[in-house]
């Protein structure tokens, strides 16, 4: 089933970590397997935040050797970053297997991503100037506590609660997906993409990488491809309704915008609230009520509807 949610403050920033946690926790019944956030803080000057993992959560329970293995993989990642001339400003051990590095780098982002992800078990969860992408197993309350997200201030964010149906319960199959190798772009999705394998093979032939077997990852790769070829976010969302088969509602976030697209059958839910200050949207109204408890007007976007809001 899965639940998705998005929130954007149109005039400045808010307690986006706390707000997204409240929204996602209220959607727990739509999928308790994993929870993920793509939240946007104040952009750092001339620096990026790289979030990456070198193992899955479940790997950590498989024996004592994994602890040394994690250390070895992390050292290898740092060695490769140094080789590419990346300056590490700050390191944060968020969990035993997931890390947050502030870096400075002005080279080819794809080259960096490919080189780092070549280290066994390593996946860059996100790279961005303002984006922080966090995802792990469990509900929103657990993930928010694990990654200390409730204090996070920012302008906007998207999130996902996952009911695993077409791929495994692990971090690599959890949403959001970073639109590799583009900075600050992330995707969450609710639905099933029926031409996933056909399109995946097409993109793989063009050199794009897939880290999971989850059909939703296609939307991130697809968006990245369109943006690379000069499309605007709105154009990419609109074109996806023609190109992608299946039933879907998905959200895309960039450094300063939040967009949504709904498939031609309007088969997957989305409830929308829009005011001059705030836009909130979610699979169920109960998630919007979690942050706006007073009586408001909400509605369902229609089939093939595409919307983009700026922060």
């Amino acid at each position: 089933m899965c639940g998705i949610a998005g929130l954007i403050h149109r005039n400045g920033s808010g307690n986006i970590g706390q707000e997204m946690t409240q929204m996602l926790q209220s959607l727990k019944h739509r999928g308790p397997d994993s929870t993920g956030y793509a939240i946007y803080g104040t952009p750092g000057r001339n620096e990026y935040v790289m979030r990456f993992k070198v193992a899955e959560q479940e790997d950590m329970a498989k024996g004592f050797d994994i602890v040394d293995e994690v250390k070895r993989r992390r050292a290898k990642v740092e060695e490769r970053l140094a080789t590419l001339g990346v300056q590490i400003i700050d390191k944060e051990d968020v969990t035993d297997y997931a890390f947050r590095y502030r870096i400075q780098y002005d080279g080819d982002m794809k080259k960096l991503a490919d080189y780092v992800e070549d280290v066994e078990g390593t996946e860059i969860l996100s790279m961005g100037n303002a984006l922080e992408l966090i995802k792990d197993l469990g509900d929103a309350a657990r993930v928010a506590q694990q990654y200390d997200l409730r204090k996070f201030k920012g302008t906007h964010g998207i999130g996902h609660t996952r009911m695993a149906t077409e791929s495994d319960v692990d971090i690599r199959s959890a949403h959001p997906y970073w639109a590799y190798p583009y900075n600050d772009i992330a995707v969450v999705h609710n639905g099933q993409l029926t031409n996933y394998w056909m399109m995946r093979r097409e993109f793989e032939r063009r050199g794009h990488r897939f880290m999971s077997n989850c059909d939703s990852e296609l939307l991130a790769v697809y968006t990245a491809y369109n943006l690379e070829h000069g499309a605007t976010l709105e154009e990419s969302l609109r074109q996806s309704i023609q190109d992608i088969d299946g039933v879907f509602t998905y959200l895309v976030s960039t450094k300063d915008a939040l967009g949504m697209a709904k498939d031609t059958m309007a088969a997957k839910p989305m409830v929308l609230y829009e005011s001059d200050d705030l836009v909130a949207l979610a699979s169920e109204e109960v998630a919007i009520r979690a942050v706006i408890p007073h009586e408001i007007d909400t509605w369902d976007p229609y089939d093939e509807e595409v919307r983009v809001w700026r922060a």
């Binding site: 059958m265 309007a266 169920e284 009586e295 007007d297 909400t298 509605w299 369902d300 229609y302």
Partner: protein, 285 residues
């Protein structure tokens, strides 16, 4: 047949004469007379409520199961007018009510609200999510704001009204009753409609009335497209009279009247069944 027991409901239905009534053609219903003696009107276990007994229920700290249980308890104690406060868009509120009741919901409901009703009159001040009023048999539901998809799905009787706009697949599989929408409706509205009437005061999405078997759709605005086998029908004086009366009843009659409304009906080119009852079909075949 050892081990089988007869239920209380079965006794009542026998007492009502439902098993001896000679049913013919499509008349598979027994029409009750409210004045008849012997409690023949209503369900055997339905509580007899008094509209003058009023209660309020604050839902803020209750979950769906607790709200519905407390609602049932109030009805069993004879309360006929109940106000639900702070519903908080919770799902499946006030479902399966089979007796008379005036229910006021002061706020918004989530998915599957007010399903399987037979009798109550409900007013919702806020919005409702997907599948509101699914399978209602009788009564009225009036929504002041918007509604999600599958509004009035499989409706069998009564009036379900949304003063705002509704989502996709409105009235899918409608088998009777009336669905009235003050605003717009999404795609596949009236999909596989079988009986009843639907009024859309605004615009409709694509494939309006797709694969409808029967029933009537009145459209005040424009449809993005008509569905397979949905065709324009001719407005009659009876249509106009009914439409005016119904829209007036719910405060939705446009100031310019109903002259601009179009009628959509089934072309009946797709039928894969006929009007014959099984017994009659045997004779024909």
């Amino acid at each position: 047949m050892a081990g089988l027991t007869t239920t209380k409901q079965a006794h009542v239905s026998h007492d009502l004469g439902m098993h001896t009534e000679a049913l013919r053609g499509k008349t598979q219903q027994r029409f009750f007379d409210v004045t008849e003696e012997g409690g023949g009107y209503g369900y055997p276990d339905a509580p007899d409520v008094d509209f003058n007994k009023r209660a309020e229920l604050d839902c803020e700290k209750l979950d769906t199961k607790q709200i519905n249980a407390q609602l049932r308890d109030l009805m069993n104690r004879g309360y006929g007018t109940i106000v639900l406060k702070n519903p908080g868009s919770k799902h499946s509120l006030a479902v399966g009510i089979l007796n008379r009741l005036n229910l006021y919901i002061e706020g918004s409901c989530g998915y599957f609200a007010l399903g399987l009703l037979d009798g109550p009159n409900v007013k919702v001040k806020g919005r409702v999510g997907w599948a509101c009023g699914e399978n209602m048999l009788s009564g009225t539901i009036l929504i002041e704001k918007n509604a999600g998809s599958q509004f009035g799905a499989a409706l069998r009787g009564g009036d379900i009204v949304c003063k705002g706009s509704v989502g996709a697949r409105t009235g899918i599989d409608q088998k009777g009753g009336n669905i009235i929408v003050g605003g717009d409706t999404g795609s596949f509205t009236g999909f596989m409609m079988q009986r009843g009437r639907m009024v859309i005061c605004g615009n409709a999405g694509k494939n309006l009335g797709d694969s409808m078997y029967d029933g009537t759709i009145y459209l005040g605005g424009e449809a993005r497209s008509l569905g397979v086998d949905a065709v324009p029908g001719e407005m009659t004086d009876l249509d106009r009279e009914w439409l005016t009366r119904k829209l007036k009843m719910y405060g939705l009659l446009p100031s310019k009247g109903i002259g601009h409304f179009k009628k959509i009906v089934a072309g009946k080119q797709l039928w894969n069944y006929d009007n014959l009852e099984p017994g009659e079909k045997k004779l024909v075949l």
